[in-house]
């Protein structure tokens, strides 16, 4: 039972990390990018690629995976978001990011293969460590580091304050001389870097698998919607809750209905409290 809880925490940490990445991008652009899960997938796949095929040491591979994630985040902004937002049609970003996500997933599938491949171990550790195994605490440590780092960034640094200004009111921030476009691009790069980090840290748990992106996009979104859109605490709580809920349900009822359970949770929360646990109610603009 303890193993179940710990693995639930670990997988929940990955969902929470995906939710955080959603939040970073959403705060500056009001866009929920479908590519969010694919960023994490790229982190895992490229981490494994750098270590297995190039034989690079783990820290170098980590830097590589983070750079790939950041690059892809930036690419998402440049290709799929910028033009669409400039035209200000409300739905089209969903289509453009969906298209980009599909292309990335297929490209990785063609190049890397469609079978999940094992992710190398990062530290020398016996497999008998049980719940203290690195595959469990690595994602948890990563998401804690991400959340603390983000908090520090938003509260203590000048750039973080610029981010918050843009997320509060982009027009007002623009009027005060903030380059909102550049802030948005930077937020996508940061989300990409953190997503790459999360994917790398959770690699041993999820394996390096090309189709992981779509699942993570969905689960990260559920974590965020349950916790409340725009709230980092909400993303953490929602992600952990979803991970625990899923693994416990799998333990009790078997693993055939994972997605059904997750979506059931989403539907219940949305019907009872549509703004999420930690979200703020918004007045609908007319």
């Amino acid at each position: 039972m303890l193993t179940v809880l710990v693995s639930g925490l670990a997988i929940g940490a990955l969902y929470a990390a995906t939710g955080l990445a959603y939040n970073i991008m959403f705060s500056t652009s009001k866009v929920l990018s479908v590519t969010t899960g694919h960023i994490c997938m790229l982190g895992g796949v490229f981490g494994a690629y750098f270590m297995l095929d190039f034989g690079l040491p783990a820290p170098v591979a980590l830097v590589g995976a983070v750079l790939v994630g950041a690059g892809f985040g930036l690419l998402t902004e440049v290709i799929a978001i910028r033009r669409v937002l400039a035209r200000s049609d409300e739905h089209l970003w969903l289509l453009s990011t969906l298209a980009l996500a599909t292309m990335v997933q297929q490209a990785v599938g063609l190049w890397w293969g469609t079978e999940p491949r094992p992710f190398p171990r990062l530290f020398d550790q016996d497999f008998t460590a049980g719940v203290l195994d690195q595959k469990y605490w690595l994602p948890i440590a990563a998401v804690v580091a991400m959340a603390l780092g983000l908090e520090f960034f938003y509260r203590r640094t000048m750039y973080g304050k610029v981010f918050q200004a843009v997320s509060e009111d982009a027009f007002a921030a623009r009027a005060h001389g903030i380059a909102t476009d550049r802030t948005r691009a930077l937020s996508f790069a940061i989300a990409g870097a953190l997503g790459g980090l999360a994917g790398f840290a959770a690699g041993q748990l999820t394996f390096a698998f090309f189709a992981l992106g779509l699942t993570l996009t969905l689960y990260g979104f559920i974590a965020l919607a349950v916790g409340g859109l725009g709230s980092n605490v909400g993303a953490l709580v929602g992600g952990i809750a979803l991970g625990l809920f899923q693994t416990v349900a799998t333990y009790l009822f078997g693993g055939e209905y994972q997605q059904t359970i997750a979506v059931g949770l989403l539907m219940v929360v949305l019907l009872v409290k549509p703004e999420g646990l930690f979200g703020s109610k918004k007045v609908r603009p007319v």
Binding site: L95, S96, T102
Partner: protein
Amino acid sequence: MTASPLPRVGALAIGVIAAATLPLWVGDFYQLHLAALIGVYWVLIAGLNLVVGYTGQLSIGHVGLLSIGSYTFAIVVGRYGVDPLLTLALAGALGGLCGFLLGLPSLRLPGFYFAMATMAFALIMAELSLAQGELTGGGAGLPVPAFNAPFDTPPGFYWLVLLVAGLITWMTWNVARLMWGRGLIALRDSEVAAAAVGVPVFRLKLTVFTFSGVTAGIGGALFASLQSYITPDTFIFELGLFFFVCIIIGGRGSILGPFVGTVVLTALPEMVAPLAKLGNFFYGLLLLAVVLVVPEGIGHLIKTVIARFQKKQPDSQGVQPDIGRLVTAIQRGHAS
């Protein structure tokens, strides 16, 4: 639209005759199979087009409804020996019911939430069809029987598909043309404005979504019979994306556009081998290109080009300023 209806009626008649006589002049059974596949896809896409193209609800999970229709047909006909045509209606009804049940909670959600809910639905359907092994055959899948006597040959099946597709096209065309369609477009462009002028927003969305569920169920039954063997792998999520791309490429708010999109996108990868290998990458690329370059769809682009050719550039109505009067007016202004 001031163009006279005669060329359109003529074109429509030629199209119908060509489609109806297709089995008589087409080369081989493979091409006939392809034509039937286009028809089957179109049955689903015609319904989905009302949801996506007219109402603006981005449902990316219709492949789930398709799989419901397919499994219904395979199980009810294959295991219980019910009449296939009756089962076709049953699959449609069940698809409609599932569409209704799916739409009831998720249509209340705004844009991205709705898209995610439908995507989750498609993934759940794939999961259930794997988990319910006794019913669906699990990963091994199910053989699907063919239709009865007049429709059991490839041309016969093709005519059945053509009949169903024609009927559904006629229905969607009526919906799009009459007051309903106006309501849907109003809804797509601004929900609040539509509600303000008395469009029953939620009921209209739900009705249209249920109708698309019916067409998806019927399409699923036909699809299963055409494929003759189905597994959960048949209904991958990317198939839902494919339906979606057909509509977006054809253009939102038109019926002919998505139809052309369906024909081209189904046939093209079969004709051009490298595209078949790239498969979904190609569809993603196409979707991205259309969204970025011509968001109204290629149908709209063609319409614009035709309009430009039919009508010469309007005579320039530029106003030549009367310099003398202008100068005196300015001077008078300065003087006062």
